[in-house]
Amino acid sequence: MTMRASRLKRVIGAVTAAATVAFVAACGSGDSGDTASDGSVTLEFAQWWGAELPAGEFDKIVSDFTAQNPTIKIKLLSAPYDATKQQLVTGAASKTLPDVVGLDGAWVNDFAKQGAITDLSKLMTDANYDSGQLASQVQVDGKTYMIPVVNFVYPLFVNKDLLAKAGVAKVPTTRTEFLDAAKKISASGGDVKGWALPLDTAVPNGVQNDVMSWLWASGGSMLQDGKPNLQSAPVKSTVEYVKSLNDAGVIAPGSLTMKEQDKVEKFTNGQVGMMIDSLAHINLIKKNKPGLKFEVAALPAEDTYTGKRGIPYASWGIGISNSTKHKAEAFKFVSYLLGQETNAKLSTIANGFPGNKNAKPDFSGSDPMFKTAFDIYQQGYPANEFVGLAKSEDLMRSFDEQLQLVLTGKSSVDDALAKAQESWSSVID
């Protein structure tokens, strides 16, 4: 037997081995150990920022770091936001997170609880780092897990031409004025609508950016002592207001499956007159529609509200993997990105506001609208209650589903908020 069977085996073995060798040789780029023979360390940094910045800009900032610290090399793993998120979730699940990770405030709680990202407070102490220079830190149970590197505020964008055409002289500052302006724009003809509301449930960020923002702008809160408080009067009035916009027919159609990208496209193409959007998009809009006349303003508040207005923001946050062997080096890189000079540079190219208080972004080369936005930002306060919450995407989604029921007339505002409160309470305890 042996002759034949073993020959057969040998042949199969040879085929398999040859194939394997061929592929291993062909790829050759398997992860070699992260400490090289010359003692230098390679850190992997997974983020979506590179994909959002002008090509090559982020690499430049990173290579400056390596020039200053020849023993630390940075390998950028860039992917879009959604893909980064999925890779980080799988990575965290199998304890193979890259050394340094870009984080969204909404992910922090879950990664921290899984033990996937490390306690930065300790690293800051170890490195004698002055945390006083940081504009903000995201904490879970009193420990810092994420530091926002660049913040992006979400002001109101208005299309000046559409406003003028509709006979609205002044950019709305209150909810009543906004509704009125939206009605006039929607009545001005064509397919144009007053406002865009992206409620797609695949990425339910619209709840944060386009719905809760109304609440925060009037100083409201969806939480009380860290517990959900969705049946309060301010939340109710916010949802009722969104419903009134919907009932008035001023929201662009398709909002139940509209994505954030669609919102920006519609504004850029003059199909909606107003939207709440990230300041970072000014350049994008200008690139795609050079002639569009638009400006940014503070979010409208309740008519009687006079206090400071919360302005929603999103961050490019940074964290460090718990499983990395090079925490000190990783923190060195983090503090480099947050250093006064680098942080200013990064904020400038990203069109965001710096995570280092002392960093002064250079608005000289950028659009005057950034200056306006910076003023709005300083007059109000940054507000995003989803940051640091557990399963925040899930919270947004369950709120989103209830809101969709309200907008399709399948549920009353009270019932919807009661249901949302119930499902949030089961998550946040």
């Binding site: 291993v24 699940a93 193979t96 795609n288």
Partner: protein, 281 residues
């Protein structure tokens, strides 16, 4: 009499052509729009009313993609992965198909059932444990990792098809080899493989398609641009806030060309190969 037959034929022909054109519109119009979008400026994609050709018509998107070494690398990766998957799937499936077609052995039906039901496993459910496994095997972010993964999904159908194809070939062929003192191995490679070429082409094209367009695992199992494939490259053009419409479309058009060429070259044999399998499959 002759005229009625002739008119009837003409009528039937007109009917078939009408049907074909209507079906062609159904199949082709979205692709036409894709093509048209690839030539537009991003600002004109949502232009209202829509136009097939806009003022911003240009080849910029194609130039951009063909001029970027990262994007070209995606194409190279896709070729490496898809061709390797195709060749290896054919090799492995031929051996398995040969076993099913030419031998009877205990547990044959069970093994066959397992292989068939493997394709019933929804990939999305496997992502998390699979990821851990691939990392543990040291195959994360490598070609072999991706190639072997794709093979798991292409093999079952390939085995089914090849078994069916081999079943159509008379057993006397390989018996004759054995009479001459050859082994079953010789029979497979010397006799059956050469006459199975049409069937192999059909399975090969199918396998290539699956691997070329696979998205979920190509995303999960790679993390650097030098390992990513075309579908992921297309996904990379969808930013968090905006799409590079024209480049996305240009890249899909470019990505579809190799498959189209494969089909053009092999369509006769592709369909012929499926025929043999189909009759008995």
């Amino acid at each position: 009499m002759a005229t009625t037959v002739k008119t009837r034929r003409t009528l039937a022909k007109a009917g078939v052509i009408t049907g074909l054109v209507l079906g062609g519109l159904f199949a082709g119009l979205p692709v036409l729009w894709m093509l048209s979008t690839s030539f537009k400026g991003n600002g004109d994609v949502f232009q209202n009313p829509p136009r097939l050709i806009t003022k911003t018509f240009s080849f910029d998107a194609y130039r951009e993609i063909l001029g970027s070494s990262t994007q070209l690398r995606f194409f190279l990766n896709s070729y490496i992965v898809a061709f390797s998957v195709t060749i290896l799937t054919l090799l492995v499936a031929l051996m398995a198909g040969f076993a099913f077609s030419r031998f009877t052995f205990p547990f044959q039906k069970t093994v066959n059932a397992v292989i068939v039901s493997v394709q019933a496993v929804p990939p999305i459910t496997l992502v998390i444990p699979y990821f851990g496994l691939v990392v543990a095997l040291g195959l994360y972010n490598t070609y072999p990792g991706l190639i072997l993964t794709h093979m798991v999904f292409t093999l079952p159908y390939a085995i089914i098809m090849i078994t069916a194809y081999l079943n159509t070939l008379p057993r006397e062929l390989d018996e004759s080899v054995k009479v001459d003192g050859g082994t079953s191995w010789t029979a497979l490679w010397r006799i059956l493989v050469p006459i199975s070429v049409p069937g192999l082409i059909a399975v090969g094209v199918y396998t290539f398609m699956i691997s070329w367009n696979e998205y979920l695992f190509a995303l999960t199992l790679t993390r650097t641009d030098d390992m990513r494939t075309v579908p992921i490259g297309i996904q990379l053009l969808m930013g968090q806030h905006s799409y590079e419409w024209n480049q996305m479309m240009a890249m899909s058009i470019l990505g579809s060309i190799p498959v189209l060429v494969l089909f053009l070259l092999f369509q006769r044999r592709f369909i012929g190969g499926l025929t043999a399998g189909a009759v008995k499959a």
